[in-house]
């Protein structure tokens, strides 16, 4: 297969989501209980949808679908192995960042549509957070694309056949990981849906299929950003002995596990602190990373 068909992308999403669930259990030090999880899923699916009719019903129910769509489009940009990749766009890495940007309206629609005060607070938190973290994501993509001279993810993987980008541009990786964790609204950046602070925040009103779509979208998002991290920084499918696709899967799992494990070790970041870190530290450093990337490209990749 030279290119993923839309069905194949959906298959990766649907197969990858349970794998992310498994990683969640393992990083929490919990014995996975698939039977219990299936039972909980069935319970959620049987629950009727909630209709916050006094508020914006259309936005409310469209949000989970848009969130899932953004996650699947991002996933489609990930190159899994030579000849086994998603949509092979010329500017795939940029489209990946653009797909992640659609998480922002989806989350805002969810919070605004629910109409509850703390859901709206969660929505505004997210808006502020994503304005701050979208730029580091885009700038880091630019930095790692520079050595390849291309925004095509397969080209970026190809340029790492000798040395992974994580070793060449560690600063870019250090900026990328917190930013994509924030995009996946995972701890310690789970500010818009913080259970104890906002009682579920933007997702507090979702029941039934809506709730399942939100959970699925978050796992697909994590799968997508982990896969793209492996592609952009860890030399993608390159590695000895094992088949390329397996290398890529292992690296993706390792990144996802790292993100999940880190979230358990740290308390949730305060919104003020998260914004301050983004604007005062991450964004200036991202510019530095681009300058460094230019220097590295001139010296080693020409």
């Amino acid at each position: 297969m030279s290119d993923f068909t839309p069905l194949a992308i959906l298959a990766v999403a649907l197969l990858g989501a349970p794998c992310v669930w498994l990683l969640e259990q393992l990083t929490a030090g919990v014995r996975p209980a698939p039977g219990q999880a299936v039972q909980a899923l069935r319970l959620t699916l049987r629950s009727p949808l909630r209709r916050p009719e006094a508020y914006d019903n259309v936005l409310f129910h469209a949000a989970p679908a848009l969130l899932l769509l953004a996650a699947v489009v991002a996933l489609a940009m990930v190159p899994w192995a030579p000849g086994f990749r998603g949509i092979d766009f010329q500017a795939g890495a940029l489209l990946f960042a653009a797909a992640l940007a659609y998480v922002t309206p989806a989350m805002f629609m969810a919070g605004w549509g629910a109409g509850r005060p703390l859901a709206v607070v969660g929505a505004f938190r997210w808006l502020a957070l994503m304005l701050a973290y979208a730029m580091p994501v885009a700038m880091v993509v630019t930095a790692v694309a520079a050595p390849a001279g291309s925004l095509r993810p397969t080209d970026i993987v190809g340029v790492q056949h000798a040395v992974p980008m994580a070793l060449v541009q560690p600063l870019a990786l250090a900026l990328w990981l917190p930013a994509v964790t924030a995009v996946c609204f995972l701890p310690p950046f789970d500010l818009p849906q913080a259970d104890a602070e906002l009682g579920g925040g933007v997702f507090s009103e979702y029941r039934g299929l809506d709730r399942v779509l939100v959970t699925l979208a978050q796992r697909v998002l994590l799968l997508a950003v982990s896969g793209m991290t492996a592609a952009l920084f860890l030399a993608g499918w390159y590695g000895p002995l094992l088949p390329p696709a397996l290398w890529m899967a292992l690296k993706t799992a390792a990144v996802a596990a790292l993100i999940l494990w880190g979230g358990r070790r740290l308390p949730r970041v305060e919104v003020d602190r998260a914004l301050s870190l983004a604007w005062k530290v991450a964004n200036p450093l991202a510019i530095v990373a681009i300058v460094l990337a230019g220097g590295v490209t001139l010296v080693f990749y020409r």
Binding site: A33, D195, G199
Partner: protein, 470 residues
């Protein structure tokens, strides 16, 4: 198996009234693999006491409707260690019959398109209907204040506590706390109910001691030592259960896990020293050696301390919600809150039994949320040491100094401050000095803070939902 040593899978549950209460009552939900969630939509189970006070009845009913339909509901008998709710209780079994304990239940309101009720009747959740007043905010920008009530259930505050909040953007403009649960402060009879079910062992021990002192009953020395050990174990459990609630609010699973590891041996100790045995202390009764359990608890608490003394906790709590010693004393706040502000006031200092054990009150400076957290950890350590020493003295049947009863009644230092019992004619007058002041001080401390920080500050006061003062 590779995963043999791993924790078993957990179930997300809406825990009513709250996890901290069940733990203090001796039934830690975490021991059964229950992870409490506040977002009803994530709950796969509902844990609820079989009897609930009238004040919470409406909120519980609302919670039953808010969890996904078909969620198993588990009505559970209130443990004997909890005491009992006062006169007016609602039979939860009747509600469960209506709403489906372990049955599928169908909420026509949602399906018929009536939608979720965002109105004022919706008490359980967190928030009521958004109220927009349009008053200008302090910084001159025209904002739309969001007014809502947080509680009395499914909030990080203990079940029964309500915060009436006005948000200016995401900053708290106003915060008023209400403790909605109440036991009669004046009670007749020889054995009144604990006035605060979050400190039921301390209240029970106080009332028993006061009653025995009044009637001139000679209490065996062993019983007095064991009573002290029991009170200290309750304090340690209460503080660690509170810390775990704080860790859940902070979204910090590592601290939740470690606090839970500290709670398990302490709860086992309390199981070995049941309050009935402590109060009566018959000569032939034997109590198991709890030394190894206390050692284990001390070791786990050390690990909790290492996490709490890291910069990770300080980043969220240092400098937040400062209550100066002067402000605390002026407001009449007592207990750990005032000790975290540098005031070494503790009723145990004047107790001959504690003096015999060389007790000195723990004090911290700063008066912020971090100081309150670390002070309670200091008190957990002290309580474990005191419980061990008291258990030792009990086994040796060591002599005890005679109990002292002041004309103002008997005073005992509970987990949240002093508790008083005074006999007036045929009634017991129970009071918890400083409890009411703590509510107003905590509300004031939250004003001007971002919502999440304000919640951390509110929780850092370890407030009780029970109104004790008459």
């Amino acid at each position: 198996m590779v995963l043999a040593g791993w924790r078993r899978s957990t179930t997300a549950a809406l825990v009513i009234p709250d996890e901290q209460s069940w733990t203090v009552w001796g039934q830690d939900p975490a021991a059964e693999g229950i992870t409490p969630v506040l977002d009803a939509g994530r709950a796969d189970r509902l844990l609820v006491p079989d009897q609930i006070p009238d004040e919470l009845a409406e909120a519980v009913r609302s919670a039953l409707e808010d969890v996904p339909s078909g969620t198993p509901t588990e009505p559970r008998a209130l443990p004997a260690t909890a005491g009992h709710f006062a006169d007016h209780v609602t039979d939860q079994q009747a509600n469960n019959h209506e709403h489906g304990g372990r049955h599928e239940h169908d909420h026509g309101g949602h399906e018929n398109g009536a939608g979720h009720d965002h109105g004022d009747d919706d008490q359980h959740g967190h928030e009521d209907m958004m109220a927009i007043t349009g008053d200008p905010s302090a910084d001159g920008l025209v904002m739309e204040p969001i007014e809502f009530s947080f509680g009395p259930l499914a909030s990080p505050l203990p079940g029964g506590l309500v915060a009436d909040v006005a948000l200016d953007g995401d900053v708290v403009a106003e915060c008023r706390l209400r403790a909605t649960l109440r036991q009669p402060a004046a009670q007749a009879g020889a054995t009144p109910s604990p006035a605060d079910l979050l400190a039921s062992a301390s209240w029970t021990a106080l009332i028993a001691a006061a009653s025995q002192a009044e009637s001139g009953v000679m209490v065996p020395a062993r019983a007095r030592w064991l009573r002290l050990a029991s009170i200290e174990l309750e304090r340690a459990v209460s503080h660690l259960a509170w810390l775990r609630a704080l860790a859940r609010l902070l979204g910090w699973p590592a601290l939740v896990q470690q606090a839970t590891a500290g709670l398990f041996p302490l709860l086992a100790c309390r199981h070995e020293l049941p309050l009935e045995l402590v109060l009566s202390a018959p000569r032939d009764a034997t109590t198991h050696d709890i030394t190894h359990l206390l050692r284990l608890a001390a070791a786990e608490t050390d690990r909790v301390r290492r996490l709490c003394e890291s910069r990770r906790l300080a980043a969220r709590t240092a400098g937040r919600g400062i209550v100066s010693s002067r402000a605390a004393l002026t407001a009449g706040v007592r207990g750990p809150i005032v000790r975290a502000s540098g005031v070494g006031e503790d009723a145990r200092v004047d107790d001959p039994l504690y003096r015999a054990l060389g007790f000195t009150a723990a004090v911290r400076e700063g008066g912020d949320a971090l100081a309150r957290t670390l002070l309670r950890l200091d008190e957990v350590d002290a309580s474990i040491t005191l419980a061990q020493a008291a258990r030792q003295r009990a086994s040796e049947n060591a002599e005890t100094p005679p109990p002292t009863v002041s004309p103002l009644g008997m005073i005992l230092e509970g987990p949240r401050g002093p508790l008083c019992a005074q006999r007036l004619r045929r009634e017991w007058r129970l009071s918890a000095p400083g409890a009411r002041s703590a509510l107003s001080v905590a509300g004031d401390a939250a004003v001007g803070l971002e919502w999440a920080t304000a919640l951390v500050v509110l929780v850092s006061f370890d407030l009780t939902p029970w109104t004790v003062d008459p």
